[in-house]
């Protein structure tokens, strides 16, 4: 009798069925646990995102109300304490008056202990406690606050009683359980430290998730604090004159410092802020291992309010980009935010594109921005793409949501260029514009130049046209193409084409 792969049903149904049921039960339980873990991760992620967006919304309100530094710091402290579930917190800033680098608490809320060893008798009454904390001068590297300021990294203290850098007196005044500290950093510059102590719910300690939320909020708070700080220092000086210069400094701070290296693609960008008007912005955001977000934008409001709006948009975009792979969806979400937060006469034009490195495609949507230009391989004429889409901040709901999304096949394209109106509206001494025609003509001749080469050529052509007279608007360019074999663009060939 041949051996059957399975025993007859009546034989295995009793023994094997039991095994199968147990195995299935185990698998289902494991899957359930995994789903629960994923669900809770998503819930926390959403909570963090909501916190950040709410924070930006409130900051937007404050920016339009022309708040001073003290009010801004009070707001930030209260907000961060609330959102992290802490029972007290303080914001330490570098003391500009002091000769050596020293930090001082500018705002203290709740039962927050002094962090330096203290000899005198301190009343535990909250007001005196706050005065004591504010009077402390903390050197760089000294105690937990000084340590965080020096290292520029956040610190999570799970058991404050075992932390040697905390003075013993601190525990006598405030029973300390756990603590989080985060530097307020703009790029690599630490401008201060934010500290929170003890979870409001007794017996709980701060978690990595709380740290992540604190880090995100502290990043945004740092930009806001620095803006208000600089602006405040100017109140006695010539505010108006300097305002535009500060805004343009900020604009520079918000631009990426270096191009990410993307295998298989060449990307180049350029931004020249004009003193008078500046409001351009570009960014490159890593979404996941095979998608890269490219954004170019122009904020209509200039000066410090414009810079703050730009910073809001940048944060909102960086929060949304990793969550969606549809450029139109991202722009719709950003618009909702911007529309609620800006005054009626401020708007932003933006093109948001997503590079799919595997599929070699560029999906993009346009919110009232200049067209996207592509040079198709083997066709001398550049193509202008102007998909439907209204500028951000002008309207919301259905009218805005009608937004078209287009896709360019980068495998059949020599070059893609995103730009702002400052390029085509560059003027010569008689007020004539550089114009789209001359721009397209240059692209037509130079489409074989890589992104970097093209940007150089274009800038020098604009320079020739304007005879170097200062421009009124920013000039921003972002170009990309699929990486080619080195031999395709030999130098002699390039020179032959330009000459």
């Amino acid at each position: 009798m041949p051996i059957l792969p399975l025993a007859p049903p009546q034989f295995w149904s009793v023994t094997t069925l039991l095994v199968v049921i147990v195995a299935a039960w185990i698998i289902i339980s494991l899957l359930r646990a995994r789903i629960r873990r994923l669900e809770s991760a998503i819930a926390i992620d959403t909570q963090e995102r909501e916190s950040v967006l709410l924070f930006l919304h409130r900051m937007g309100e404050m920016a339009t109300n022309q708040s001073d530094l003290e009010a801004t710091l009070e707001f930030i402290t209260e907000f961060i304490i609330d959102e992290t579930g802490a029972s007290a917190g303080a914001i330490y800033l570098h003391d500009p008056q002091s000769e050596v680098p020293e930090l001082r608490a500018r705002v203290v809320q709740g039962l927050f202990p002094p962090l330096r060893p203290t000899t005198g008798y301190v009343l535990t009454k909250r007001k005196y406690l706050h005065d004591k904390v504010k009077a402390e001068r903390i050197g760089l590297g000294e105690g937990v606050v000084g340590h965080v300021a020096k290292e520029g990294e956040g610190l999570l203290i799970l058991d404050a009683r075992a932390e040697r850098r905390l003075p013993t007196e601190a525990h006598e005044l405030v029973p300390l359980e756990s603590m989080m500290l985060m530097p307020l950093k703009i790029r690599e510059e630490v401008i201060g430290v934010f500290a929170v102590v003890n979870k409001r719910t007794h017996g709980q300690v701060f978690t990595d998730k709380d740290m992540s939320l604190l880090r995100t909020l502290a990043d945004q708070a740092a930009v806001t604090v620095k803006t208000v700080q600089i602006f405040e220092e100017l109140t006695q000086q010539q505010r108006v004159e300097s305002e535009l210069r500060i805004a343009s400094d900020f604009q520079r701070l918000m631009l990426p410092t270096q191009m990410p290296s993307v295998e298989g693609f060449e990307i180049a960008a350029y931004c020249k802020p004009a003193l008078e008007m500046g409001g351009d912005y570009y960014d490159i955001i890593r979404i996941d291992e095979s998608h890269l977000g490219l954004v170019i934008a122009d904020v209509s409001g200039k000066g410090v309010p414009g810079a703050l709006i730009m910073s809001m948009v940048r944060s909102a975009l960086r929060a949304e980009a990793p969550r969606r792979l549809s450029p139109a969806d991202v722009l719709r979400t950003i618009n909702q935010r911007v529309y609620e937060d800006t005054r009626s006469n401020v708007f932003i034009t933006m093109t948001y594109a997503i590079l799919d490195e595997r599929a070699q495609t560029l999906h993009f949507a346009r919110a009232g921005h200049e067209p996207v230009i592509a040079c198709p391989t083997g066709d001398p004429n550049p193509v202008l793409y102007t998909p439907d889409g209204i500028a951000l901040g002008l309207t919301d709901g259905e009218i805005f949501d009608v937004m078209e999304e287009l896709v360019i096949d980068l495998g059949e394209t020599d070059l893609v260029v995103l730009y702002t109106d400052g390029v085509v509206e560059a003027m010569d001494e008689e007020g004539r514009e550089y114009g789209q025609e001359r721009f397209l003509d240059l692209l037509h001749r130079q489409c074989d130049r890589g992104p970097e080469g093209l940007i150089q050529d274009l800038l020098s052509d604009i320079g020739d046209f304007t005879h170097g007279i200062p421009q009124h608007d920013d000039i921003t360019l972002l170009a990309l193409r699929r990486r080619r074999e080195a031999h395709v663009i030999e130098a002699p060939l390039r020179q032959g084409q330009t000459g």
């Binding site: 008078e276 005054r343 708007f347 009232g368 200049e370 209204i390 309207t395 009608v402």
Partner: protein, 118 residues
């Protein structure tokens, strides 16, 4: 030097409708003049405005912002803003920004009047 001029009149057939003719450049420098003039009209009770753009040779983003602000203020008071005959250059800018989908654009004063009456 880039100039900007504003000319205001009432429509004979509908005296509550004001026609503001814009001439020259509406940009960051001249937008204050435009705002001052529209502020005065609104303070005097005007809610229906036709902006005659035939003579407007350039509009910057600051100018567009001013149009947006004006439109929203009029709507809040139950009124409306209608744009009349923008030049090709100005139309291109408005169209690029998506303004042609938000604003009423008209080819004639009669058409503009019809919209403001309805």
């Amino acid at each position: 030097m880039k100039t900007f001029e504003v000319d205001i009149r009432s429509l004979d057939s509908s005296p509550d409708v004001r026609v503001i003719a814009l001439n020259g450049y509406l940009d960051a420098h001249t937008v204050a003049d435009f705002d001052r003039c529209t502020d005065e009209l609104i303070a005097a009770g005007t809610v229906k405005i036709i902006l005659d753009l035939q003579g407007l040779s350039y509009i910057s983003s600051a100018g567009i912002g001013a149009l947006m602000g004006l439109s929203q203020r009029l709507k809040k008071d139950g009124g409306e803003l209608v744009l009349l005959q923008p030049t090709q250059k100005v139309f291109k800018i408005l169209d690029l920004l998506g303004f042609t989908r938000i604003f009423h654009l008209c080819d004639s004063e009669d058409e503009a009047e019809q919209i403001l009456r309805s």
